[in-house]
């Protein structure tokens, strides 16, 4: 008997995506804006987040989940801001997924917040495929990494809602080509908003927070359809 072909059309990550949609819906109803920070290792996610939490916590209820392969160094740094911080140890897994986020939220403060930041594992490849229930995905590109990073990792940059160019205090020391960086980001994600920050000097932090504030009012954006087509 010859085999027959049965069309099934199933999203391979449907279990993750269904859970991510549930998380996003829960946060939308609770009025909590969820922001997923992604970048390569060492782009400055933790420094940005520490400064952001410290600056925002007088006015807003903010908290952070931080994904880390093995250590709790990032969680310790973030806790210095005084905001609630919880660590997700991913072990050898190179990205966060919706299940890890859901488990970490169990019995935690998250529904009483204005903004929940999720610091993803430092990796420019793997986190791109995983919806973790966020409303906004922010990709960081530090001036020390080189302007061509967006062209090397188009998938992650293409999946973002905002790009942050970080460590701008080092820009002149590394002869950062700002125009090339902007052009490359827009090659892979036309019209993507771009902001510039320095976690060290605080430069650009107010503009970054103002950008976040412009997304505060529900209904938040629903990213469920960002993968195109497959349910």
């Amino acid at each position: 008997m010859s085999p027959r072909i049965v069309e099934v059309r199933q999203n391979i990550l449907k279990e993750n995506d269904v859970l991510a949609r549930e998380l996003r819906s829960r946060f939308t109803h609770a009025g909590v804006l969820v922001v997923n920070l992604v970048s390569g290792p060492g782009a400055g996610k933790t420094a940005l987040l520490e400064t952001t939490l410290r600056t925002m916590r007088d006015r807003y209820r903010v908290a952070a989940l931080t994904g880390d392969l093995a250590t709790d160094n990032d969680a310790k740094r973030l806790a210095r801001s005084g905001a609630p911080v919880k660590q997700i140890s991913t072990g050898t897994v190179c990205h966060l997924d919706a299940r890890m986020v859901s488990n970490a939220l169990d019995g935690w403060v998250a529904d009483d917040l204005d903004v929940l930041f999720i610091e993803n594992v430092g990796n420019l490849v793997c986190p791109a495929s995983y919806d973790i229930g966020e409303h906004i995905r922010v990709v960081l590109l530090s001036v020390t990494e080189g302007e061509d990073k967006p062209l090397k990792y188009p998938t992650l940059f293409n999946s973002a809602d905002c790009a942050l160019i970080t460590k701008t205090d080092l820009a002149s020391a590394v002869e950062f080509d700002r125009d090339a960086a902007y052009a490359n980001i827009h090659e892979v994600r036309p019209e993507l908003p771009i902001l510039e920050t320095s976690g060290r000097t605080g430069e650009g932090i107010d503009a970054w927070i103002a950008w976040l504030e412009s997304h505060f009012t529900p209904p938040f954006r629903d990213r469920s359809d960002w993968k195109l087509g497959t349910p």
Partner: protein, 124 residues
Amino acid sequence: MGLVVHELSIAMSLVDVACEQAESLGARVEALHVRLGPLSGVVAEALAFSFTLACDGTRIAGARLVIETMPIVARCTTCSADRVLASAQHLHCPVCGDFTPDLIGGRELELFALEVEEDVSANR
């Protein structure tokens, strides 16, 4: 290492989805047809390698994996037409040259079809 770990997670999800479908079809799976977009974040070779590990010991063990790479398709608002783009590095309309932010294809990560053999043992 990171690359393989990531595709292994994807391969395990793929095997779960395929086993679930095979179960409901009551059939033995000969091959899986997967559609992969260049912007899915998944590398075909790494997925194929991981798949052989992930399906071992499951009800679809030994099945072939057929990966179809899908084109990047964008909606060009200037031309009012759908265009196939050559590269994820340059999201421009190949005809008019304008930016094409609206993608309508290229992020697929989908089990499209199963090639099955009716499970004769179940009918005896």
